[in-house]
Symmetry: C2
Subunit: 136 residues, 2 copies
DNA sequence: TAATCTTTGCAATCGGGTTGCACCAAAAAC
DNA sequence: GTTTTTGGTGCAACCCGATTGCAAAGATTA
């Protein structure tokens, strides 16, 4: 596992106090975090600073965003070597019981066959159901 | 192609003026429509009436909603016989150029393999890229 | 040091979505 | 056929997540 500093260095994002603490928080959570989640966790950091940090991180591919249908965009740290292009595609799982959203890095995505002459760029693939913890 | 009246009858939704015109509009469009889209098209119908109509339609499975990441929920008429359960799953395509979102009914969805003990209930699968019209 | 660029915090704003309420029309009860 | 009940509609207000303008603080460069 890389440290915050290493990740920021690799992704060419200048290290600042807010960025370090936001990234550290994201790394410490198993579920993808919304702006509100982060705001609640980092009570001394302003929402707009967190927001802009997330935008910066996303542009520099430190994190990726997930639209899970909850109405709040969620963010998760990219896997090592991720470039956020089709080869990095993975499902996201939203548990309808515990309401956690997380990346399913270990599930391979079948090749997506598109109609003739369509070009795949990215995808937002959210699978919903019960996670192992809640499916008992 | 079924008429609005037939669809509403089959799905057990009472036919009203607003419902007929909203459904007719949805049927007439090739791309999935946002609340705003419909509002702009039906200038004499109130937004909240359209909104409540969409909610009713969704509950009664006349339409399904799509989170394409644009920030606005889109709606499309369900295919005949659709029950909005896993067997009715299909990809949605969002063209990053013309910004149309639509159902890919003809592309079969590969079986989604989840980790042990996860249970699939639904999914929101949005594929992004260039549609055939824009990929030239 | 002085000038310049970037980051941060605060407050205000935007916009999609949602709701309370009064009115009205259709359906049900009488 | 008239009254009562139920449900749909329009209007205005509101909620809340996201976004932005601006000035202060901090970092970088000349
Ligand atoms: Mn992910
Ligand atoms: Mn669809
Ligand atoms: Zn769960
Ligand atoms: Zn297109």
């Amino acid at each position: 596992m890389q440290t915050e500093e290493e990740i920021l260095k690799i992704k060419k994002v200048k290290n600042t106090a807010v960025r370090t603490v936001v990234l550290r928080h994201l790394l410490s959570q198993e579920k993808a975090q919304s702006l509100k989640d982060i705001e609640n966790a980092l009570v001394y950091t302003d929402r707009s600073s967190i927001f802009r940090t997330l935008k910066t991180f996303e542009k520099k591919k430190v994190i990726h965003s997930i639209e899970d249908g909850s109405g709040m965009t969620k963010y998760a740290v990219c896997a090592e070597g991720c470039n956020c292009d089709p080869k990095d595609l993975h499902y996201h799982f939203y548990c309808t019981n515990c309401e956690k959203t997380f990346c399913l890095f270990d599930v391979t995505i079948p090749n997506i066959q598109l109609p003739n002459n369509f070009k795949l760029q990215q995808a937002n693939l959210v699978v919903k159901g019960l996670c192992d913890n809640c499916n008992k």
